[in-house]
């Protein structure tokens, strides 16, 4: 009874949702190389390993469970000219997962043969949170590291701040790595404009 009453509305609402998503997707069309660089640098800044003031680690290391994000990050690496033999992939998976099947799955996705994968990292902890967003099968996370990637790391930082702040604030942030300098510049700019 309830189902018969509401189902048509739910289907219609779901279609509306999809139309908006698909419309946004189509309006983008293809991406230029410049756009791939900008998006890739920001993706890295959100999800990648970042250098810390207390620990200098200028390494490009990116780990994610979302295959779409992984595929895009690899595309970004291609666009910025990372030689193929500098790209290393490694599976991180909980001990309850199927290492072999997961390796095969990621291998098919990214096109790196299974035997070229680094040794997997097997997690043994007891996860505290019970995530409910595991729609697909559990396949762990793929880590992508770049050999000799210190220069690339610095370029990513430059692109990311260039995209986020542009011009003077970006340069101030890159040079001083200080938030105080940044907020002062942004403030001054706000007062002028």
């Amino acid at each position: 009874m309830w189902k018969a009453r509401w189902e048509p509305y739910h289907i219609e609402a779901e279609q509306r949702r999809q139309e908006i998503k698909l419309g946004a997707c189509r309006e983008l069309g293809g991406l230029s190389e410049r756009e791939v660089v900008i998006a890739g640098a920001l993706v890295y800044w959100c999800e990648g390993t970042k250098d810390k003031i207390y620990r200098r680690t200028e390494k490009v290391s990116f780990i994610n469970s979302d295959p779409a994000l992984v595929v895009f990050f690899l595309r970004f690496l291609g666009v910025v000219g990372v030689p193929r033999d500098h790209v290393q992939v490694r599976l991180h998976i909980h001990e309850t997962g199927d290492v072999e099947a997961a390796t095969k799955w990621w291998s098919d996705l990214v096109g790196t043969p299974v035997e070229r994968f680094e040794n997997p990292v097997i997690k043994k902890h007891n996860p505290k949170t019970t995530r409910k967003n595991l729609l697909d099968e559990y396949r762990g996370c793929l880590q992508i590291t770049i050999r000799k990637g210190a220069d690339l790391y610095r370029r990513i930082e430059g692109w990311a701040y260039g995209a986020m702040l542009g011009g003077d604030p970006a340069e101030a942030r890159l040079i001083s790595r200080s938030d105080e300098v940044l907020s002062k510049i942004l403030n001054d700019r706000g007062r002028q404009g």
């Binding site: 998503k21 946004a24 189509r26 983008l28 895009f72 666009v79």
Partner: protein, 77 residues
């Protein structure tokens, strides 16, 4: 105050604070917490973001396969 200056939202315009009680690991930077930015009436915006995100991440797939990965036909060099 610091976040208010940065984003130009008067301090009175902030939602209530969320106070975390967990012991923080990183206390090296001047600690300022995280601002949560939410957008009212944003279901449509959420859907468009999802569309843009997937449009960006999964655009020309062929290119991705041949371009980047440690396989034989890479044109990376």
């Amino acid at each position: 105050m610091w976040w208010g200056d940065l984003v130009g939202t008067p301090v009175e315009g902030f939602e209530k604070l969320v106070i975390k009680k967990r012991k923080p690991k990183n206390t090296v930077d001047a600690y300022k917490g995280c601002p949560l930015v939410t957008v009212r009436q944003s279901a449509d915006l959420y859907r468009r973001i999802e569309g843009w995100a997937f449009g960006t991440m999964l655009a020309p797939r062929q290119e991705i396969r041949t371009n980047v990965l440690p396989g034989e036909d890479s044109n990376l060099r």
